[in-house]
């Protein structure tokens, strides 16, 4: 596979603050590459350097064969960008937004009109084509922003937190569109703090925290490497916790504590651990579930990830929660 983005010792400082601390990564053509991490991890800074918005402080960043500081115009002609904040033209209609944006790339009107109509159809926006942007829903605005990033048929599409702030249904719809784009061979670079999003879409990902890469690999690989196949969540009075963990020493490969909940990581078979749990009178409830990237993140950072209230199985990162982190 050919390399489309290569970073070596990539560093970004803002007024003495290190946002990206000398990281290395490689993105190959046709991949969906994820950059996962909590707010403030440096994800947005990394992608903003790829699309030549923030200048690189030091290190190498090569995009589509060009060094970012040397030829940004050549790079930006071949990149599509979907920023974190919607910056659509509020005063224009849905279709006009695409046409005006096509103008920035020097695409002639005829081609732009054809391409705009195809994209509106692809993103289920044809019926809204002549509506003002202010009148469409958040999910539609997001789809329009993605469509806009594709107007010039780019080789790489950069998506900075594409589904943040959307309801679960809109989020799933966007995932479906992104999967279809991936099947067409488009390279996607995606930042997210939704672990489910990363597991659903990414072939390869880096987990960032405080400007550094903590871990890198395929989602399933990372899960089996760090937490095993399954997790048991146990509700237990903190006073009884040590006793329980002592008795489970042989059955589990690690654990995490968050408030009254203990997460037990097990490799293959949970029967042994369940027997011990059933024998403990102090265990209030427990639940066995497949492990996910959230568990990996929790284990790597020792910091909190909790389920978002009221959004089903969506997850988010809350780096300020204090959670102890220990591995047996």
């Amino acid at each position: 596979m050919s390399v489309v983005v290569e970073a070596q010792n990539l560093t970004k400082n803002y007024n003495g603050f290190t946002a990206v601390a000398g990281i290395d990564f490689t993105i190959c053509r046709g991949q969906c590459f994820g950059i996962l991490g909590p707010n403030g991890a440096g994800k947005t800074t990394v992608v903003a350097m790829i699309y030549c918005f923030h200048p690189v402080t030091s290190g190498i960043l090569n995009v589509l064969g060009h060094e970012v500081s040397e030829n940004p115009r050549a790079i930006k002609t071949r990149l599509g960008v979907v920023p974190q904040e919607n910056n659509l033209d509020q005063e224009l209609t849905v279709r006009e937004n695409l046409l005006v944006y096509a103008g920035y790339f020097g695409i002639n009107r005829e081609t732009a009109a054809k391409r705009a109509d195809e994209l509106l159809y692809f993103f289920d926006l044809s019926a809204k084509a002549s509506q003002e942007v202010e009148q469409i829903s958040g999910g539609m605005k997001r789809r329009l922003t993605i469509a806009r990033g594709l107007i010039h048929d780019p080789e790489i599409l950069i998506l900075d937190e594409p589904t943040t702030g959307l309801d679960p249904q809109s989020r799933r719809l966007i995932w479906e569109h992104l999967r279809r784009l991936k099947r067409k061979g488009l390279t996607l670079v995606l930042t997210t703090h939704y672990l489910e999003e990363a597991s659903q879409l990414c072939d390869d990902l880096i987990i960032m925290d405080k400007g550094n890469i903590l871990e890198q690999g395929r989602p399933l690989e990372l899960i089996s490497r760090h937490v095993g196949a399954k997790v048991i969540e146990v509700e237990i009075n903190p006073g009884q916790r040590q006793l329980l963990l002592q008795s489970l020493k042989k059955e589990i490969r690690g654990y995490q504590v968050a408030g009254n909940t203990v997460y037990l990581f097990i490799s293959e078979d949970e029967t042994g651990a369940l027997e011990r749990l059933n024998a403990h009178s102090s265990v209030q409830t427990y639940q066995v579930r497949p492990s996910n990237l959230e568990d990996v993140f929790l284990k790597l950072t020792g910091r909190g990830l909790i389920y978002e209230e009221g959004s089903g199985n969506e997850t988010g990162l809350y780096p300020d929660n204090e959670i102890s982190n220990q591995v047996l």
């Binding site: 200048p55 115009r73 904040e85 033209d89 509020q90 224009l92 103008g103 920035y104």
Partner: protein, 269 residues
């Protein structure tokens, strides 16, 4: 010092390159929006100057019958052309540019395309210039219809309005590059635009002012524009106008790098 602030000759020349086809695409974006929204922006740019002309021309005009060989309305009419053009470009590149930059994030959207930030700034200046030419020309046509234009030299007025636009679009954009909040533009209008409006020879001839103030007025770009426009509309054209024209050209060229430098410092971290 930041890289954008080392003023060697070589680094300065790069600020004139963005006057190119990419900047025109930014201008085009604003014109597309203007085609949809012009009925709302026309009140401020065109109706308001006409109110000034009517109130002062009729109100004060009754008391002043002979004003340096003309009616008072004839005297102030070219100044109203100049000030309406000044307000139009100054407002466009302050409040309206700030909204596009800060609230709508239009600049961010555009710099993700092949267009760079310098070209965005120049495109905005060109649009401010368009607004200046547009509102000044409309006022010119109105005063011509009222019989206040006495000479065919007035056909050159739109060219002076281009200079007017470039001056005030840039001065406003410099503030847009600096002000922390949109409310801070109040200082720009109170301390820069309004004094210029009042002391550039629009409402009274400069020679009634103390000599020191007359000298200071020479530093105000609007003064030179008023002299040029009044000479063109009244047909009192002579070689002495060249100096005013040169003053404006030098001013425009000299400050051209500033809006780009300041916007770069503001947005690119």
């Amino acid at each position: 010092m930041k890289p954008g602030f080392t003023p060697t000759m070589k680094s300065l020349t790069r600020y004139y390159k963005p006057l190119n086809r990419w900047a025109l695409k930014v201008l085009n974006r604003n014109l597309v929006v203007f085609k949809k929204t012009w009925p709302t922006s026309i009140a401020f740019n065109i109706v308001e100057p006409l109110l000034y002309l009517a109130a002062l021309g009729i109100g004060l005009g009754v008391m002043i019958e002979d004003f340096e060989g003309m009616t008072y309305t004839q005297f102030i009419a070219p100044g109203i052309v100049a000030t309406s053009a000044m307000w139009a470009s100054a407002a466009e590149c302050s409040y309206d540019s700030f909204v596009r930059m800060h609230f709508q994030k239009i600049y961010h959207a555009i710099v993700a395309t092949p267009i760079n930030l310098q070209e965005v700034v120049v495109g905005e200046l060109l649009y401010g210039t368009f607004k200046s030419v547009l509102s000044g020309t409309v006022i010119l046509m109105v005063i011509a219809a009222l019989g206040l234009v006495l000479s065919p030299w007035a056909l050159l007025v739109p060219f002076v309005l281009v200079l007017n636009g470039l001056v005030f679009a840039q001065v406003a954009m410099i503030w847009t590059g600096i002000v922390p909040k949109i409310d801070n533009f109040a200082y720009f209008f109170t301390l820069v635009v309004t004094p210029m409006f009042l002391f550039s020879g629009v409402f009274f001839p400069m020679d009634v002012l103390p000599e020191i103030v007359q000298t200071l007025a020479w530093l105000l770009p609007l003064y030179h524009i008023v002299v040029l426009l009044r000479s063109l509309t009244l047909g009192t054209v002579g070689p002495e106008l060249i100096i005013h024209l040169l003053w404006l050209l030098v001013f425009i060229t000299a400050i051209f790098p500033l809006p780009q430098m300041l916007m770069h410092r503001r947005l690119i971290k």
